[in-house]
């Protein structure tokens, strides 16, 4: 109960501390998600329905990945830079509750964009979403599967610019070298094998399985993989924040 109360109070504190910016970031995220979906139509005119589904769900996956390995590390790196991270760690609170609250806060800023990207994409390309209630588990699992890595990088990195460089590299990978926007078959063999060991592959699979009727998707397998990555990455993050220099 203490953990949950601290988690709730920390989410509230984060929201109150950044409510004006959170709204702006939420709006920018909506522009990013909808813009990405719209842009696919310019790159590939007359997109076939299955391709449109793949690309739109890829854009939604991109939003989730961005929460875990861009938004979150930047929030943590900024907190570290300003001394807030140390300050919170002098309070009698669970550090895991603090991390989870930051994950929640960043996710709150991206959820509207994620939903709008899917709805707008379906409308724009004329296909129907086939929603599975398990989406409510897939999204947080997807974020958690990546969040720990993002937190660990932000905490361990000696400089905020290094954190930013890492996040850009990660996004670059997800955009062009992972089976998120591109079908796995189009990737070189080595990248296909690499993809099997990285969370974005399973986040994309889970999103496709719970929002479309695309073939060859695996909701339970992807959720199990994301849960596994989540446990591992959160353990990594917890170790990073428990580290005393």
């Amino acid at each position: 109960m203490t953990f949950l109360r601290q988690y709730r109070d920390l989410v509230q504190l984060s929201w109150r501390s950044y409510r004006d910016f959170a709204l702006m970031i939420g709006i920018v995220n909506i522009g990013f998600g909808v813009g990405l979906v719209l842009g696919f139509g310019y790159v590939i005119p007359d997109i076939p329905e299955a391709t449109a589904m793949f690309l739109v769900t890829g854009a939604a996956t991109q939003m989730i990945v961005t929460v875990g390995i861009v938004g979150l590390p930047q929030v943590i790196a900024q907190a570290k830079n300003e001394g807030r991270l140390d300050y919170y760690f002098t309070l009698p609170i669970s550090r895991e509750a603090y991390l989870l609250a930051q994950v929640t806060f960043v996710l709150m800023q991206s959820l509207p964009a994620l939903a709008l990207a899917l709805v707008f994409g379906a409308w724009n390309y004329g296909f129907s979403l086939d929603m599975d209630p398990l989406i409510v588990l897939v999204v947080p699992l997807g974020v958690l599967s990546l969040a720990g890595l993002g937190v660990a990088v932000a905490v361990i990195s000696p400089h905020v610019q290094l954190t930013n460089a890492f996040t850009q590299l990660a996004i670059f990978y997800v955009l062009f070298f992972a089976p998120v926007i591109l079908p796995k078959e189009q990737l070189p063999l080595v990248l296909r094998h690499v993809a099997d060991f990285l969370p974005p592959t399973y986040v994309a699979d889970g999103i496709r399985a719970t929002t479309t009727n695309l073939p060859d998707t695996h909701v339970w397998r992807s959720m199990a993989a994301m849960a596994g990555f989540g446990v591992g990455s959160f353990a990594l993050a917890a170790a990073a924040v428990r580290r005393r220099g």
């Binding site: 109150r16 501390s17 300003e82 140390d86």
Partner: protein, 313 residues
Amino acid sequence: MPVLSVTELCKRYRNGTLANDRISLAVEPGEVYGLLGPNGAGKTTLVRQVLGLLKPTSGSIHVDGVDVVADPGYARRTIGFLPQGMMTQETIHVDEWIYGIGKLRGLPGAEAHQRTNELIEQLDLGPFRKTKMAAASGGVRRLAGFATAVVGGARFLVLDEPTNDIDPVRRQLLWNLLMAQRQRGTTVLLVTHNLAEAERVIDRFAIVDQGRILREGTPAALRSLVTERLRLELTMAGAFEPHPALQPDEGMPGSFLFQPSDLASVSAWLQAQREAGRLLDFRIGPPTLDDIYTHTVGGTKSNGAAAVLGAAK
């Protein structure tokens, strides 16, 4: 049993810097203990180890007899902390910030509200209650930070430069509140550069430099180490011929040192200067913590310190 007991504490960073070198000190219950020293002296490193943010290379730290190197959670539950850095909390209001930290310190919602309201009144923060932290002045942020350190009712406070940027009136409110806390038995570790103010509130202090404690004791005991001479601070209208007993303190313009036995004749001279319209203001007092500090650490005021020290010899 001391509230804080530090024994033979050493901290060497990975780059080889020895930030704390065999520091030992004990802070007794209800005591205000000052930690003085120049930038880079090792004060912050010491505080960070007490708070469990850094692990000592060797030595021990006990809070209430509990080994907080092994159990840093005890330090976090026990200590109310005000950091030196000005954290920007952006859009949160002053009262929301104090209330939020109160809740994180374990207060139930109603009690956190009550304590927040009390502190806002005691620190005269009422006009800034709904000011966003990012828009508040440095002094208001500092006071709100102080409120967050005490809101949870911590029995041990670690305050790093608590009065920075605060106007004189509210600074006095803060000291009054701190004194009230002490009377209730709260122990305080006070890190400061503001020696003149610290002198009024601290029971004992340590001067730290290059990772070591150079001096430790009460202000009165340490003052006696420096000199028995009195200090006269003068503001005159134009040039003047000083009394023969006055020796200029080269490190502090307008400041002179003289023997207590010359007090009567110096007073008569001051009266004559006033009647002649040359004296605008003056102040006579014992050596300050500044003198002790400068004498101990050395540094930019070394001329003045040398003058003071010279008289002591």
